[in-house]
Symmetry: C2
Subunit: 202 residues, 2 copies
């Protein structure tokens, strides 16, 4: 029994919300309805904001972090130590570590973690770009700062094994970060201790 | 200290997500980042879906439910009892009640509840349209089916007081619906009992 009209545009919109990940059916429907309750102006602005963000924000040609330029602010900063690379899962982890004001090296943003269950294989991440970076410039240390989750640990170990033959020091941030949590939600002191207490992997 | 580039488009997008209501700062940022991780095609499709939903979906000229036509499927159905109006908060409540196959009357969708805290005054809802409907056609009963929350109850009582002088029977769905919950999440049997057990308000 059709309860209401052909509301395909609404269903389509809910489907798009589900693509953002971690959003269930009911929540997606709620968000789609919320769009209808926006003013016409706000709805158009929302659509425009999506296109603009997607168009204007690119990946840094060096570290793959998000940027509006060819190179991000950190990679183009002469005062940063280019011989140390901190590998993180996403741009929000960069922001979190930057807030500690502890780390003066550069980053490499993987844009995810290896997760066979979700179909995320190593080639979907920026691991290839990281290896190219290690081969083409003088790198002294790679700090693996993926989240202390099962997938984050596995990704760190996977990358450590790849780098090991290159003779570059590889370290992993200490478990000062609460296990099972997300780097983004860690407080600054905990993150600072995690960077200080990093141990050599290979 | 600026940690990354001028990422205004991303902040703007996060702000738009927050306008959907019930989305905090961190979650809005997560969603904005998720947009960046969509394929270009999906991002454009998302933007288009917002504009299409907003453009194609209107409010029924009779009951204010969402529809792609002038009148929704229920209001334009000759087999529905036009003398009984079930007043609900939103279109999803209409869907929930329709699924019980118990109710053969029509609806009136308020598109919210009175909430002075959130700046939602009675004039922001479709109460005026409801009163016009009661004045212009033969209505025997108005069933108030707003959610059994503090705001839903207050809105029901507000509408009951407005209708009382018109000499129309006003009822409220029974508290079979779990108090504090949301109509949309009630199971069909509970909703059916709630409609059966409705009591006269005035």
């Amino acid at each position: 029994m059709a309860t209401t009209d052909n509301l395909e545009p609404l269903e389509k919109l809910a489907d798009m919300f589900r693509k953002l990940g971690g959003i269930g059916k009911k929540t997606a429907e709620k968000y789609a309805h919320s769009i209808l309750n926006l003013s016409e102006e706000d709805a158009y602005e929302f659509a425009r904001a999506i296109v603009e963000a997607k168009t204007e924000i690119k990946r840094c040609s060096v570290c793959c972090n998000i940027t509006t330029d060819e190179e991000c602010r950190i990679c183009s900063d002469d005062e940063r130590d280019k011989s140390v690379i901190c590998v993180v899962e996403d741009p929000r982890a960069v922001d979190a570590i930057e807030k500690t004001r502890q780390f003066r090296g550069t980053y490499h943003v993987l844009h995810g973690v290896i997760s066979p269950m979700k179909g995320i294989t190593p080639d979907k991440l920026t691991i290839k770009e990281l290896l190219e970076r290690l081969n083409s410039s003088e790198i002294k240390e790679v700090i693996l700062a993926t989240n202390p989750t099962v997938e984050g640990e596995a990704t760190a170990m996977y990358i450590a094994r790849l780098i090991s033959p290159l003779g570059i020091k590889v370290s992993r941030i200490a478990n000062g970060v609460p296990v099972g949590g997300d780097l983004e939600y860690a407080d600054e002191v905990t993150l600072r201790r995690a960077i200080e207490g990093r141990y050599t992997v290979s």
